[in-house]
Symmetry: D3
Subunit: 197 residues, 6 copies
Amino acid sequence: MTAISRYPVPELKDLPEDMRTRILEVQAKAGFVPNVFLTLAHRPAEWRAFMAYHDALLVKDTGSLTKGEREMIIVTTSAANQCLYCVVAHGAILRVYEKKPMIADQVAVNHRKADIPPRQRAMLDFAMQVCTASHTVEEADFAALRAHGFGDEDIWDIAAITAFFGLSNRMANVIGMRPNDEFYLMGRVPKAPKPAA
Amino acid sequence: MTAISRYPVPELKDLPEDMRTRILEVQAKAGFVPNVFLTLAHRPAEWRAFMAYHDALLVKDTGSLTKGEREMIIVTTSAANQCLYCVVAHGAILRVYEKKPMIADQVAVNHRKADIPPRQRAMLDFAMQVCTASHTVEEADFAALRAHGFGDEDIWDIAAITAFFGLSNRMANVIGMRPNDEFYLMGRVPKAPKPAA
Amino acid sequence: MTAISRYPVPELKDLPEDMRTRILEVQAKAGFVPNVFLTLAHRPAEWRAFMAYHDALLVKDTGSLTKGEREMIIVTTSAANQCLYCVVAHGAILRVYEKKPMIADQVAVNHRKADIPPRQRAMLDFAMQVCTASHTVEEADFAALRAHGFGDEDIWDIAAITAFFGLSNRMANVIGMRPNDEFYLMGRVPKAPKPAA
Amino acid sequence: MTAISRYPVPELKDLPEDMRTRILEVQAKAGFVPNVFLTLAHRPAEWRAFMAYHDALLVKDTGSLTKGEREMIIVTTSAANQCLYCVVAHGAILRVYEKKPMIADQVAVNHRKADIPPRQRAMLDFAMQVCTASHTVEEADFAALRAHGFGDEDIWDIAAITAFFGLSNRMANVIGMRPNDEFYLMGRVPKAPKPAA
Amino acid sequence: MTAISRYPVPELKDLPEDMRTRILEVQAKAGFVPNVFLTLAHRPAEWRAFMAYHDALLVKDTGSLTKGEREMIIVTTSAANQCLYCVVAHGAILRVYEKKPMIADQVAVNHRKADIPPRQRAMLDFAMQVCTASHTVEEADFAALRAHGFGDEDIWDIAAITAFFGLSNRMANVIGMRPNDEFYLMGRVPKAPKPAA
Amino acid sequence: MTAISRYPVPELKDLPEDMRTRILEVQAKAGFVPNVFLTLAHRPAEWRAFMAYHDALLVKDTGSLTKGEREMIIVTTSAANQCLYCVVAHGAILRVYEKKPMIADQVAVNHRKADIPPRQRAMLDFAMQVCTASHTVEEADFAALRAHGFGDEDIWDIAAITAFFGLSNRMANVIGMRPNDEFYLMGRVPKAPKPAA
């Protein structure tokens, strides 16, 4: 079997209590442990910061971005960064949240061709700008998003999700993080397991 | 005076205790509060994760990378991402740690021309690969670094520092984070103030 | 329902006999008519040339490339060209031929991370070179492929498949060719319908 | 003498009747056999599809694109793909059709500086977009062309010619197809021989 | 000590009279001899042409560009070309002329974030276009600059300064021209020495 | 008739004596005045420096580069910069010097396919590196050229010619410098006029 990381992957039983608890919760919810939880656990301090950042951006009730839209940003920009783990894992979560079995493949290949409304198109255009050329972001880019109803806090969310998964993409690419087989099919057929990070 | 962020910047007195304490510590050490602490404080949960990640990578005693080398990675890759805040702020810290007043300008413009030994050159080449094309990282890249004496944990460090500051660069570029004036001169003249994140 | 092309799509009954016959054959085999057959039928002469070229490259018994390998080349290079139709449709066919439900997503995101042997990796590296920088192809590139056991006729096959689908990708992108919904799931679950062009 | 292809080039006498007939017709008209006819004849089935596609796009009386404009598209995009055969051979044909001895060199180097009216400039801008970034083509690009009087069928023509010669460019680059010496001078001096594919 | 050039560097005493005189003048004014004067002196004829071109563009009283603006163009485009010598040396001169200790670092990292008025932003946008994609310059680009009050002669100046330092950047990069240590600090603290080419 | 420059072009009679003399000499030799002499004459001081630099690089007897090789460098890199004037004018001179009517078109489209020996191929590879990525030049690049028999002075020549024509390309692109009609045919037919700058 192919390794899920170039680095040593700790066993669940050897992890500190807080990490093990979180991982068991995810497992209970998703039916399996997404490999990101195990592979990054090689470095507990970074793991905790990573999860805290993740939760601060994705597990919250403020802002106008839906959970599906956040995943859409992740899949689109992760495809630009050619990160297999994030495209496959978050593609699964996107399908589940949006209840659209084709949306993840669409945004991963070319978000311009996806079946999405102009508001989401503008959101993804901006996410791609942050992903590939953040130094060019200017007031005019904020104005374009406001014209689609995004507030400044939403724009921060789009940028921060893109930036955080840019970090995640780079780590996954370097350590060779392998997506769990379960993700590939999740959300494509009626009775998919529930999503996890 | 030019704003230090496109977003509201909280006042120190309005911040939660843990954030205020950390910021006052930095101020005591550096003589001023680096703007990253105030501008990102607009989002306390993200701020806490950001600082935890930062500390996990930069404030630790393991691995063979020196503090100066970590800053070298930050300045080199932040220049590639055209992030004014990080090039200027971490350029200052790099000068202070390395006690080399010219090194930051050198790696920011072209790390290939910097006055550094082959080991650091290889380190920066890899950091640039992670920064601009992480999807191409393969075993051969690990082998090249090992040939310069870097262990696998060092390679994770190089990648993680690059990835984390890629996040930081994108946020700074989007919110228009302005470097403190103090950073520009720090470490260029004999009696520089002490560095801060 | 979203249109499958920016251009008029002829009805099966209005097509010339030879085209209708071919399309009905495909339908009988696949269970549906892949949209490429209908959307390109807007131009019968080009359709006939397209199908003849397609068959000359993909429906033949010579050479060492397996049917699955040919599809692998198509999916990898079509992803580089961001062609939704070809990635989704040929991704389906690839899964069916290779009986590997994850292979298409892997090569579409980053062929370097796919579960493939070095020979196929070299094949895809060359296909990507032809796709993105064919002017740089030289004798050394032929030598590298020969070292993996590819003969000169195989190399022509790799190049020609890449070149032909580069044509296909551009047409699909311009006319907004939409993949049939059926392709998204095909080959991912045990009882997939049989593949079609 | 330098070979005209990395691959075996069949002799005219060994080719199937239909191919030989077509080639002799071209020879009678042009005074020589353009190398594309001989080098691609290494693969008869592909040759037939190639010529059928070529004729469907270039030998027809419908649409508003003149024969010269079609060649202009070929030369401009083939230069972007750095295909020596197509730039030289179709540059010759372009000069002959347009009776402008300088136009081919102009569009090959920089179509923005060519002595062409705004309509042709818009046509070539779109061809270059299809050539280098077809995934970005959207309704606005169609609108821009319509503003110059191009109908949707003309736009298909521009795209299809670009796409087909993108295939041709890649094949020529890979097999090292050498332009006939005759093409270099054709159409530059008063009494040029007649053009051939 | 690191060499200031890959090539032999002539001694002042061995140079022709006109060259020595010019160099001594610069030394008297700046307090040291900028390395460009010595390293390029390896080729006297080229040195004389280089200095004549330099003076024609930078030592003149016509046009609306200030001396500081000319240096701003040099620093911005030299950073794009990753030329250590020109960024450091002309960064120093820029600081001195503009009496702004932070401006050089700002335009070198990202001219979009520099503390400059819209007129200078437009000037630098155009300089960057000439630096990286001069083949795309068209009437509309002239119009954009005229809207900011630049005359056609100013536009020539912006282009010529960019073009000339593009030459200088390439020579400096190839010969490994090292900036004098003095430049790094010049203009950052109250009593800086006077600038030199 | 199309203008030869966006800027005013002085009449020969209005030019200073030294400039008029040089231009008349060129006219006597070439049979016409190449437009670069007239268009750049809009700025006499820059014109003189330009011609002095030109002569220092191209009119000299030292070094191992032949006159034809110098023109080959100019045509190859000017094509990369998409400069119509330099490709057409120096393409003519290259044909005349080398007595090879096809060489200029070959190197302009793709120098890798030109009929040149490995030594010239290495020379052009390096020229292209200086043209497009001079910041990456390192000792290994010098070693590669030395292996083909180039001395360090030859390498300076290659770099300086590339750098100088990079300047020329940018000026020509910005002012819209038009090549004289005479250049297009020169050197393609037996009795060509003699070359001019």
